[in-house]
Amino acid sequence: MQLDNLYQEVILDHYKNPQHKKLNPIFDAQVHHINPSCGDEITLNVTLDAGLVKEVSWDGVGCSISQASTSILTDLLIGKSLDQTQVISEAFMNLMQSKGTEIGDAELLEDAVALAGVSQYPARIKCALLGWMAFKDASVQAIAKNS
């Protein structure tokens, strides 16, 4: 079934056991993002340390795609340098815009390549990006705060 492209095992796993889904009350920046088309919401906290992403924690309501995508993001970005997170984020955004023509760089994106199927469902791309846009926003704020 074509749907299995979208709902890969990895995604359903992350959905059922989301990583770092418990807000740490200590953070450099906190953001609250909303998906206006479906009402999904996310709160995401970021803490930096010497140019590295020390911690990302989050909470929110949303579909399996938005929840899994955010969970995967935390696994992927925590511990990375800000430069690396930017490279990864851009690669992920490009993958989402690829309309099913790309499979994604598994070295770079790890579990996030499981979300490649989302790019064939335009209405769901925003779900997959919710956590990523929140992270982008929060990291900019955290950098500003730390500098």
């Binding site: 749907l3 479906c38 009402g39 919401e41 579909c63 399996s64 795609i65 469902y121």
Partner: protein, 422 residues
């Protein structure tokens, strides 16, 4: 031209469905299309598509703007459509204004009131009140928020009960002597609830307020008689009424339209124009500047003629029997919670529900893979879904072309989703 199905005395949705070409489309790997998203927009019968084609191929010209034959024909086509709309809702022909959508119609009345000067009965100021409800679509909420902000009037609202009805227990303190406008939906696009309009109209008129009815979800599905309802203004959309996109209706009582200032200004809505000032033509022209949306008006005329042939009461009965059937089937599904009233007397053909932990987006996606089109999300009534504690729901909404087969597919789809995500 009535379709063959429309001439049948007995109502057979599967025959009616044949009038709608899109319903024979295949979806995702060859699945039959099960279209249960008519609350968002309805499909179009051939008569509507053909009527627009005829207009473009034979009669297209700028209505009311020329003395040549095509212009005369275009004018007749436009005004003929206006007459059809008027009959459909039991109005006078000069009370019917063509807009682009219900959204424009509702903005029209809100902005036009904002344009009213002191001395005009629609003039609003600090101390005046605007009343809405918690179950409004954004299109009948935000324009009033904006009007309140522009004029200093206060905005208040009827609350919604946990089972999805309007709470009228405090009607006298919601609609007060200061209330100038009561704007509310006839039927909730999320819950299917039909509101107790009579009581509200009575109270509104008691205090001298006008009633603006958002009939987007009622006019396409049941007989609506503006005179019998005793309302003052009404809005609905063509595209939900098996008509074209890009056309809506604004209706107002004749004597109120005479006093309501214009909204959009431009050509053909004027009486006289100088460089510094302008005066207005009588309604409906006053509210229709520019070259009219003629093809869409003609298409809407064909749509309403088609619906009237089939019979609005038959359509309503059919949708209610579908609703009853679905509510029964749904009651056998574990974890499925219907959101909105169960009483069939106070609802139309819209069923919103949640399904355990399965997010509506995921459920909708699974149903789509089975060829079933439903809507998921807050349905442009965010304050309502938040109030009910379900920021997103899954909504199945029907129209005359839906069959029990469609609902059986939905029920099977819901069970399939439980297995898939279980």
């Amino acid at each position: 031209m009535p379709s063959t199905s429309a001439l049948n005395m007995s109502f057979d949705a599967s025959v009616i469905a044949q009038d709608f070409p899109i319903l024979s489309r295949k979806i995702r790997d060859g699945k039959r299309l099960v279209y249960l998203d008519s609350g968002a927009t309805s499909q179009k019968p051939n008569v509507v598509i053909d009527a627009q084609n005829d207009f473009y191929r034979l009669h297209n010209a700028a209505a009311h703007r020329g003395a040549h034959q095509l212009a005369e024909e275009a004018t007749d086509a436009l005004e003929g459509a206006r007459q059809i709309v008027a009959s459909f809702i039991s109005a006078h022909v000069d009370e019917v204004v063509f807009t682009k959508s219900a959204t424009e119609s509702l903005n029209l009345v809100a902005y036009a009131m904002g344009n009213a000067q002191k001395g005009n009965r629609f003039h609003l100021t600090k101390g005046d009140g605007i009343v809405v409800t918690e179950m409004e679509h954004h299109a009948n909420l935000i324009p009033w928020q904006q009007l309140a902000a522009r004029t200093g009037a206060s905005l208040s609202w009827f609350e919604v009960t946990p089972d999805g009805r309007l709470d009228l227990s405090s009607i006298k303190s919601v609609i007060t002597e200061k209330t100038k406008v009561v704007a509310l939906t006839h039927q909730s696009n999320v819950l299917g609830t039909i509101i107790p309009l009579d009581e509200i109209v009575k109270r509104a008129h008691e205090v001298g307020a006008v009633v603006v009815l958002d009939a987007c979800q009622s006019v396409p599905h049941m007989a609506v008689d503006v005179k019998a309802l005793d309302i003052d203004f009404l809005a609905f959309s063509g595209h939900k009424t098996v008509g074209p996109t890009g056309i809506g209706i604004f209706w107002g009582r004749r004597e109120l339209l005479a006093e309501l200032p214009p909204f959009l200004t431009g050509g053909s809505m004027i009486e006289n124009v100088t460089m510094t000032s302008a005066t207005w033509a009588p309604a409906p022209k006053k509210f229709e500047p520019g070259v009219p949306s003629m093809a869409q008006a003609v298409g809407l005329g064909a749509a309403l003629t088609y619906l009237a042939h089939i019979g609005m009461n038959q359509i309503h009965d059919h949708e209610l029997s579908l609703t009853e059937y679905l509510l029964n089937e749904f009651s056998t599904i574990d974890d499925l919670k219907v959101i909105g009233p169960r009483d069939l007397h106070m609802r139309g053909g819209i069923v919103s529900f949640s399904l355990g932990d399965i997010h509506p987006h995921d459920l909708g996606q699974f149903l789509d893979s089975q060829g079933i089109a439903v809507r998921t999300g807050h349905h442009c009534a965010w304050p309502l879904t938040r109030k009910l504690g379900v920021p997103a729901t899954t909504r199945a909404s029907f129209h005359l072309y839906n069959t029990k087969d469609d609902l059986d597919s939905l029920v099977a789809g819901v069970r399939g989703a439980q297995k898939y995500f279980g």
